[in-house]
């Protein structure tokens, strides 16, 4: 399809959908007037029922924990797809050592950058842990803290260079983190069934309101999500970085990799 035909088709589709969109926007409640009934009930009920202060974590890990299980495995599937695609072409055996591209100049890092990364790296990791652990009392949780922890490992790359980063971050640990986190979340669903409760029912003691230890099973699920997100995002960075390092080998004719 030529580009002009595509733009014309897009304009026609836009014109056809515009009255519908305008009608929907006019039919929505005015911005800021009211919130849905479901949210109202959760705000009213959940602090008493689950002893947590963070409603968003309560929804993610307890009230709608099943949806988070699905999201968790969506994350795992996307990262597995990425790894399969990249390693399928590159080969499985090269992930242990850091490869260097022949013919590329190695720019020495300035000492200010190294110092700043060495200071900021542990602080970022500490902050990420803080965000993960305070899931039920302050804004935070496994998803946010996991991404902060993963971006903290990038500071190691900035400060130490590619070889130093590969020495610190092993691919096997990341696989274990990622799979282990997802497994932990699934076990949080199955373990209550061993005691006769429903899937993912909150059977642990609920703790005290506004305390770090509150929410029961939510904390374990939170930990599972944090492990999976950290391992997954670092794995993504690692696979992408490896992709820029591969030495090109000539392929035999007739052979296509998967």
């Amino acid at each position: 399809m030529s580009p002009n035909a595509r733009i014309v088709l897009l304009a026609l589709a836009g014109l056809a959908l515009l009255p519908g969109a305008a009608a929907v926007i006019a039919g929505l409640p005015a911005f800021g007037s009211t919130i849905a009934q479901y949210g109202e009930r959760i705000n009213a009920v959940a602090p008493e029922a689950r002893h947590v202060a963070n409603m968003v974590s309560a929804i993610n890990f307890d009230l709608r924990g099943l949806d988070t299980l699905g999201e968790e495995f969506m994350l795992l599937a996307a990262i597995t797809g990425t790894v399969v695609l990249l390693r399928g072409r590159r080969g499985e055996g090269n992930t242990e050592r850091a490869m260097r591209r022949p013919g590329r100049a190695v720019i020495p890092r300035s000492e200010a950058v190294v110092l700043a990364c060495r200071i900021a790296g542990p602080l970022t990791a500490l902050f990420g842990l803080y965000v993960v652990l305070h899931a039920t009392v302050t804004p935070g949780g496994g998803f946010q803290g996991g991404v902060i922890l993963a971006s903290g490992t990038l500071l190691i790359y900035l400060g130490e260079g590619y070889a130093g980063w590969r020495d610190a971050i092993r691919s096997h640990w990341l696989d274990a983190l990622e799979g282990g986190g997802a497994l932990l979340f699934a076990l949080c669903g199955l373990a209550p069934m061993l005691t006769g409760a429903a899937f993912m029912q909150n059977i642990l003691p609920l703790g005290t309101f506004r305390d770090l230890f509150s929410g029961g099973l939510m904390l374990v699920e939170n930990l599972g999500v944090a492990l999976a997100v950290t391992g997954g995002f670092t794995q993504l960075f690692l696979e992408f970085m490896e992709e820029t390092r591969e030495a090109r080998e000539p392929e035999e004719p007739g052979e296509e990799s998967a």
């Binding site: 800021g32 008493e48 929804i59 949806d67 804004p139 995002f233 992709e243």
Partner: protein
């Protein structure tokens, strides 16, 4: 003001679609898809807001103070993280398409055909599935 978030969401979605349709570079296209995603975040959070309410965290305020809708925030939260992972998967597919097809331009890449011809404009002796093409 009462329809501004919804109009902004519709605008972002529309401009993202325009970017996808007229893009000349696959990596630029993935960025435009991210704009479409952010349109949904703005819409959901705009639906969940109420004037004069606090965040749904009852650490500093007693439970019972009017708060905004936590369900929308829970939806958007997991959506952001999973959306980033899917962006990574799309970038990987882009890299693979570049390596097979030789170009990042959507106009230059032809669809792959069944029966072995790789997605390149000029004819190629290299075929998949082990099938040999008589030269």
């Amino acid at each position: 003001m009462s329809v501004l978030p919804y109009a902004v969401a519709a605008w972002l979605f529309g401009i993202g679609l325009y970017g996808i349709a007229t893009s000349r570079n696959f990596i630029h296209l993935v960025g435009c898809l991210g704009v479409c995603q952010s349109a949904t975040y703005v819409l959901l959070l705009g639906l969940g807001y109420r004037w004069g309410s606090i965040a749904p965290i009852f650490y500093d305020h007693p439970p019972g103070t009017p708060a905004v809708d936590p369900v929308m925030q829970a939806l958007v939260l997991t959506d952001i993280v999973v959306g980033a992972t899917l962006t990574a998967l799309l970038l990987v597919l882009t890299i693979q398409a570049y390596k097979r097809g030789g170009s990042l331009d959507p106009e230059k890449l032809r669809p792959m055909r069944a029966g072995g011809q790789s997605g390149r404009d000029r004819g190629s002796n290299r075929v998949g599935d082990g099938e040999r093409k008589a030269s």
